[in-house]
């Protein structure tokens, strides 16, 4: 009897201890806000100056801060700089935030700013394009820098929003004062490690498998933003069906890129929600107007040189049908090749020419092609949502007005070089504007160039001059007028046939709320639990 009661007592004690352990673990789990999320692709590297690619920039923004921060509405607000102003035609002054510390506890100073901007301008950096005009950084005092530009640059603060500030001391200690050189045989320390001032610390990085971020409790923005998450676990999941399954089974809380065909299903699942917002990317068709004879057309002269042919194609494409049938409603028909969030966009500009196949046929006849002509349309098939399907729809619509289009849908790795090297007559392209300023669109899509993204081959010295003038005009009212005039000019000329603005759709648990951002970069600092 004695023995038994001892055993019972021991068992009870074990149970009690186990219960305590159990309750401790449950408690710590409840106290921690963990977000598990997935998307198709992973960031390429943790080095914030090595790859200028959207998922990589988004990942860097979690760990690193920039001087200027694009907030949830993609408006530029104070980041590591608290204020900035031009103090001369080619000089900007930035006042830095006091008392900011890197994740290792060291102080953030003007030295780090100078170092990071110079690193972004180094030869192996992929971010040189953002700050091409910067010629030098001068440290005035530990909390003030002057940035010199080659000419007046009104949008320097916007451009600096993508230049992340690294710790100079850390970079020197780990031999990463230059971004990864891809022709070298070894990886640098910064590819899988990071040292920033941002809201989250990099806790674990397994490229292509898992990335874990932990809250930076000492972050300067803790009072300004909700900053409720303690831990963020990211897994790239390449198969769309698996991504959706992971969300439906509750293994992840947030899905960045749910497939359009599954949205209804996700929305009808209790505990999940679907949100959408217009993205800063517009899909359009480009026509090569620069050569005298096209590569794939069955006519001797280049029909695209005639504005009536370009207008005919515009009138022939029923974007509303594409929006409804191909995109299942998740797109906004566009009348201009830049997006609503971009400075210089206006609704008036975004008016489309009407869908009118009859008029298209008339215009073609007037231009001397009563029976149409045949041509090849080049499309990517792995870049934009439903890219190939959009092109197939366009082919069918153009056939109705007599233009016989053969479709060549290929991988983006083959498609983009075709545009670059002027090996396509008629092509699809989608364009985003990271600086959110029209100048970016003008300089890449309209300014004449022998190579590069403007595959229209169209040359107009006036457009080139205007584009250059907009870049350096610092009288903002005058600059806005110039942008508006230039848009009117190029839009009337129908160099491109706009299709639609992309829409970003996110699917997530309804336990929390997170505002959507037009650049498809989830702003976790705004996330709040209900």
């Amino acid at each position: 009897m004695k023995l038994r009661s001892t055993t019972a007592f021991a068992a009870a004690r074990v149970l009690a201890v186990a219960a305590t352990c159990l309750s401790v673990t449950t408690m710590s789990a409840a106290a921690e806000n963990v977000l598990r999320w997935a998307a198709q692709g992973d960031a390429l590297t943790m080095d914030p100056m090595s790859a200028s690619e959207a998922p990589t920039i988004a990942a860097s923004r979690k760990i690193y801060d920039s001087l200027v921060y694009p907030d949830k509405d993609v408006k530029f607000v104070a980041g590591l700089a608290t204020s900035w102003e031009p103090i001369g035609p080619t000089t900007w002054e930035f006042n830095l935030r006091q008392g900011v510390k890197f994740h290792d506890g060291s102080d953030f100073t003007a030295e780090d700013v100078k170092f990071s901007i110079e690193r972004a301008k180094s030869e192996t950096s992929d971010y040189q394009g953002y700050i091409e005009s910067v010629t030098g950084v001068t440290i005035v005092d530990p909390m003030t820098v002057h940035i010199e530009t080659s000419g007046p640059n009104p949008i320097l603060p916007n451009q600096l929003a993508t230049i992340f500030i690294m710790s100079k001391a850390w970079s020197e200690a780990n031999d990463v004062t230059q971004p990864q050189d891809r022709s070298a045989g070894e990886e640098t320390f910064a590819v899988r490690n990071a040292m920033g001032t941002g809201p989250y610390k990099l806790a674990l990085r397994e490229p292509g498998i898992r990335t874990v971020l932990e809250k930076n409790p000492d972050w300067w923005g803790a009072g300004e933003y909700p900053h409720e998450l303690d831990r963020i676990e990211f897994t790239p999941i390449s198969n769309p069906a698996t991504r959706v399954a992971a969300l439906l089974s509750g293994e992840i809380d947030f899905l960045l890129d749910p497939p359009t065909q599954d949205l209804a299903r996700i929305e009808n699942t209790p505990g999940l929600q679907v949100k959408q917002v217009a993205q800063v990317r517009t899909i359009f068709l480009g026509m090569n107007q620069g050569v005298d004879k096209l590569l794939t057309a069955n006519v001797d002269e280049n029909p695209f040189k005639d504005i009536r042919v370009r207008q005919a194609i515009y009138h022939a494409i029923d974007v509303n049908a594409i929006q409804r049938k191909v995109m299942r409603g998740f797109a906004i028909p566009a009348g201009v090749v830049t997006s609503p969030a971009v400075h210089g966009y206006s609704e008036e500009l975004d008016e489309r020419l009407a869908y009118d196949p009859e008029k298209a046929r008339t215009l073609l006849a007037e231009a001397g092609y009563p029976d149409g002509f045949s041509i090849q349309l080049d499309c990517p098939n792995d870049r934009y949502i439903n890219d190939e399907a959009i092109c197939q729809a366009a082919v069918a619509m153009l056939a109705k007005v007599g233009i016989d289009v053969s479709l060549s849908a290929i991988s983006k790795t083959l498609h983009f070089p075709k545009i670059h090297n002027r090996e396509t007559d008629f092509y699809m392209l989608g364009w985003g504007v990271p600086t959110l300023d029209s100048h970016f669109a003008f300089s890449y899509l309209y300014k004449s160039a022998d190579e590069g993204w403007n595959g229209t081959g169209w040359v107009d010295p006036e457009v080139d001059a205007m584009t250059d003038a907009i870049e350096v005009e610092i009288d903002l009212a005058k600059r806005d007028q110039m942008i508006a005039d230039l848009w009117k000019n190029v839009d009337d000329n129908v160099n491109y046939v706009p299709i639609h603005h992309k829409v970003i759709v996110w699917a997530m648990s309804d336990k929390f709320d997170m505002p959507m951002s037009a650049d498809n970069d989830p702003r976790f600092r705004y996330l709040t639990y209900r």
């Binding site: 045989g185 070894e186 991988s411």
Partner: protein, 322 residues
């Protein structure tokens, strides 16, 4: 026999050189990796500089020679996408693939042979009559459909098993394993079943038909007539004589398990070499693709050589002819 082995090894070497050449040729058509490596904003001059630096402008033979000599020393260069040495990437991903393939192979072979023998001997039992049509489904449904189906049933509907990833893994030196934790084992169930199903059905059907054939032969009848125990007749005499074609198929199919694992790994986001390969294809990451193809070819060749040796063990008649 020794000569035969030398001959086989020489053939293997030629195969490898040929595979290296073909895979390298393919890469001329994969597209321009530069457009993926840099952003839309990178200038044409910078693109050209990078292309020059990576040696993409060199003549084909020069590129192939460089590739070949580096490959022999295990150096496949640095991944364009992930900016890390390809050999490290593959070494990191290899345990995941090998564990998945090994588990599937064991499941497929053990169950396949056992069920094959059973259905061969008991042709008319109701179990055989249930298994046979099911095996037809196994050989005819594509892997990704089976995978999605299993995810739908066991992850989404029942919520028993994870739908993606390796779950918990334990690091032992440079090898990460699924076998030591409950979480890791649970994560292994769906992908390995998916991968094994086709092979299992195939092996089972093959063993069964071979068994039926052998059971009709005179020496089996004679063995029965001698009054040997059925177990000895079935496994000692009948099964052993079915083994030559079965070994061939199993050998080749372990190779195709590795190849099929690309699909399974993509469906289950299993972080193995196949997934790495798919990711590098979408990126145009030539160094990774080249290394993967060469590695897989080497595995196939190795398995074939092993199979040839196994023939000699299984079938004494072949030993004399070498």
């Amino acid at each position: 026999m020794f000569l035969k082995l030398i001959n086989r090894l020489f053939q293997a070497l030629m195969t490898m050189i040929f595979v290296g050449l073909v895979s390298f040729l393919l890469f001329n058509f994969v597209g321009d990796p530069i457009s993926n490596m840099v952003g839309q904003e990178t200038s044409v001059e910078d693109r050209d500089a990078l292309r020059e630096k990576l040696g993409l402008n060199d003549p084909f033979l020069a590129q192939f020679a460089r590739f070949g000599s580096n490959a022999v020393s295990g150096n496949f260069g640095i991944s364009y996408a992930l900016q890390r040495p390809v050999s490290t990437l593959i070494a990191e991903r290899m345990p995941a693939t090998l564990e998945l393939v090994a588990t599937s192979a064991v499941v497929a072979i053990v169950l396949g042979v056992l069920l094959g023998v059973y259905t061969g001997i008991n042709r008319h039992s109701w179990i055989s009559k249930t298994i046979m049509p099911l095996s037809l489904i196994g050989v005819s449904l594509p892997t990704f459909v089976i995978g999605i189906l299993l995810i739908y049933i066991f992850s989404v509907t029942l919520g028993w098993l994870p739908s993606f990833g390796r779950g918990e893994v334990t690091q032992i030196g440079g090898w990460s394993t699924n076998f030591l934790t409950i979480g890791g084992l649970k994560a292994l169930i769906l992908p390995s079943t998916t991968l094994a199903l086709f092979q299992m059905a195939l092996i089972m059907r093959l063993v069964r038909s071979e068994m039926l054939e052998v059971l009709r032969t005179d020496y089996i009848k004679f063995a029965r007539a001698r009054g040997l125990a059925p177990r000895v007749v079935h496994f000692g005499h009948a099964l052993r004589n079915t083994l030559v074609p079965v070994i061939t198929i199993i050998g080749l199919n372990i190779g195709s398990l590795i190849a099929f694992s690309i699909i399974t790994e993509t469906v289950f986001q299993w972080p193995g070499m196949g997934l790495l390969f798919i990711q590098s294809v979408t990126f145009g990451d030539i160094p990774v693709m080249a290394a993967y193809l060469v590695l897989i070819a080497a595995m196939f060749v190795f398995i074939n050589v092993v199979v040839d040796i196994l023939y000699l063990i299984a079938d004494p008649r072949l030993r004399g002819r070498g």
